[in-house]
Symmetry: C2
Subunit: 153 residues, 2 copies
DNA sequence: TTTATATAGTTGTCTATGCAACTATTATTC
DNA sequence: GAATAATAGTTGCATAGACAACTATATAAA
């Protein structure tokens, strides 16, 4: 059980981290018998919906950096869920596709992921859920901009 | 830059994870010259505010599990920021205290952490911020309960 | 009291992540 | 056209985290 801070002066990043890990853990437990982690699942899901992306695009859509994407794809590949094809126009890059097994896994597990999201949402009204999503996306944009600005200096 | 999903059908855990990592990365960059990570910082901060806790209590307040807490304390200890004292009543446990250097580091870096939180909050009104915090805590409670219930079955 | 159980921490293994340094290929620019 | 810079990915290293198995101590039950 998490008691968390007590002081009422919780930094937003801190609560968000704790809450995120809780949700990820719940999803991980539910996905356990399918032998796939939540992060691998989100990457595979993206690929399933947009076959033939290059890794940079996958990284961008899933919010991961290049090394993390490389390694998650390695895991998915060794499980036989995706495969890479050398780019024709640009030989630096690879096009990534999901295998039949990968597609089947997504078909089987999509209800699990959706179920977890539903369960989580159950403690919020639909207005509250919409607000929460909006706030998170806004913060994401905002912090991305801060980091980018800092780097240019 | 993060483009994220596109479909408008983003799972809440997914956006929360991406956003959390963004904030953590920003804080990490700001703390870099002080040679401490955001997670180590949050543990040290808790200790600084409540000297003499046992590890279980620290784990509970920072939302971390036992092994993670052990290892973060190891890092803090090897940096000379905290020390452990064997429990007197209960010899299984340790009481954890921050050193002078640990206290000084928190004095120096507290404005950094607060500054990052302020920067992040800048894209939300104070009402929105209060709502966001409330939603996150509510979800945290809710998911904790789901996991606990599942485990008892 | 002796056996069983619960609790506090630690250690090992694996995944995910951030950062920096690296290779290979493509684009620029001189 | 050759030198330079930018881009796509990979690899190494370190921290954080989830989970399971473990040690040691304390509590409960028999």
């Amino acid at each position: 059980m998490t008691t968390l801070d007590q002081s009422g002066n919780l930094a937003i990043g801190f609560i968000m981290g704790v809450t995120y890990r809780k949700i990820a853990t719940l999803l991980q437990k539910r996905l356990k018998e399918h032998d796939i982690t939540p992060e691998q699942w989100s990457v595979l899901h993206q690929i399933d919906r947009s076959e033939g992306m290059i890794q940079r695009e996958i990284a961008s859509r899933t919010g991961k950096d290049k090394p993390t994407t490389t390694r998650i794809l390695d895991h998915l590949e060794s499980k036989g869920l995706v495969y890479k094809q050398t780019g024709l126009q640009d030989r630096r890059s690879f096009l990534v596709y999901s295998t039949e097994r990968g597609k089947e896994l997504i078909r089987e597990t999509l209800p699990i992921e959706e179920g977890v999201t539903e369960e989580v949402k159950r403690c919020l009204s639909s207005e509250e859920y919409a607000l929460l999503t909006e706030f998170l996306l806004r913060i994401n944009e905002h912090v991305t901009q801060i980091i980018d600005t800092n780097e240019k200096e």
